[in-house]
Symmetry: C2
Subunit: 212 residues, 2 copies
Amino acid sequence: MTSRAGARKRDTYRHGDLRNALIQAGLELVRDGGPDAVVLREVTRRVGVVPNAAYRHFADRNALLRAVRQAALAQLAAAMETELAALPSADDPAESARARIRALATSYLRFAQAEPGLFRAAFSTSDMADTENASADGPGGLTAFQLLGAALDDLVESGALPLDRRPGAEYFVWSAVHGLAVLLIDGPLRGLLPVQAHEAGQRLMDSIERGI
Amino acid sequence: MTSRAGARKRDTYRHGDLRNALIQAGLELVRDGGPDAVVLREVTRRVGVVPNAAYRHFADRNALLRAVRQAALAQLAAAMETELAALPSADDPAESARARIRALATSYLRFAQAEPGLFRAAFSTSDMADTENASADGPGGLTAFQLLGAALDDLVESGALPLDRRPGAEYFVWSAVHGLAVLLIDGPLRGLLPVQAHEAGQRLMDSIERGI
DNA sequence: TGCGCATTGTGTACAATGTCCACATTGCCG
DNA sequence: CGGCAATGTGGACATTGTACACAATGCGCA
């Protein structure tokens, strides 16, 4: 029974794609429990492999966490792209750009509330975060940040935003949205009713439009 | 040598104020290393006491962390109060209120960059954060959040802010400032030069003033 | 004054975790 | 087909949070 045993082979010595399996398990853990829940031993346990096996694919528990973070960021980017795609096409380019920014903000906030664990992981420091570097992009190949930048560029192009206000604008928009997201899931606004949270989001986006 | 030994008595059986000593040591650790650096055993080690001694004052490592977080929040509030106090008195009440808001935002951002560890700890979740509840206030008895609220109230009173825009305004302001702070110390804006960070802060505050 | 008891700190112990090292099992490539 | 790099296993160790039983201490009451 060293090689083949009845119908069942020795399922997994060569797992095939352990690296990804580990990341997937990590995502599960992070989903409810945040970054700290990504315990190396538990991850490998779920995949049915010995703890040290992880070290063939990640230098560190931290490296694994980084990979999970990238995956979480990718999911966020994907959610934002989806929201963008569902947008009805407007005639007015300025209005269209504004609508896109609202859509991005909305999906960002929604993601944070629907998947707080993933969201926290996506923006946790741990070591030396690489929020933008590697493959944190969505299916469209753009990161969340880049999606926002594009919308802002279009806003300028449509003439709705003076060019001298453009530089740094994404920092303002992102700051506001990210800040609210954090306050909602970790800060004093935690535990707000969904309706109230939604209202806060709407007010925030109004302020953002005025402030850009 | 059970009781008295030479000149030195058995220095610390009754430590006197262990609870606070632990919090203080926790603050040191959090300062460079963030919340995860608050390791119960290391904290007690620094105070020169056995690990379990901590359990006479805190139910949990988490309870200790909560206390440290409160202390960090208090330091933030104190920094903001100081900045407010240093403000020259303006005649125009509207201008004064605006200046106060800027001062609050400035000190908030400055604190985050000067003490990222404390800042991160102050807003880390861990369990069930109590950013506002307990004694997270500064010397003046107001939390950071309340300081902001007061300034906004004055802005309304001075007629510079329509009353119907008041509700929820602090969420917008705080979101924007907090978001930038986080992006600066953890996010993609991490490692920006101080000058650039300052500039981003200025732009942000301009946008906030417009957006309120 | 002196004694008893609640408070506060100690000692020992245990399970869990991250990571190191040496070894085993593969599959692929020459 | 034989060896080698890649991948997974086993066992070990220091560190951590925490539980339980015990010791020292000092305050309140006799």
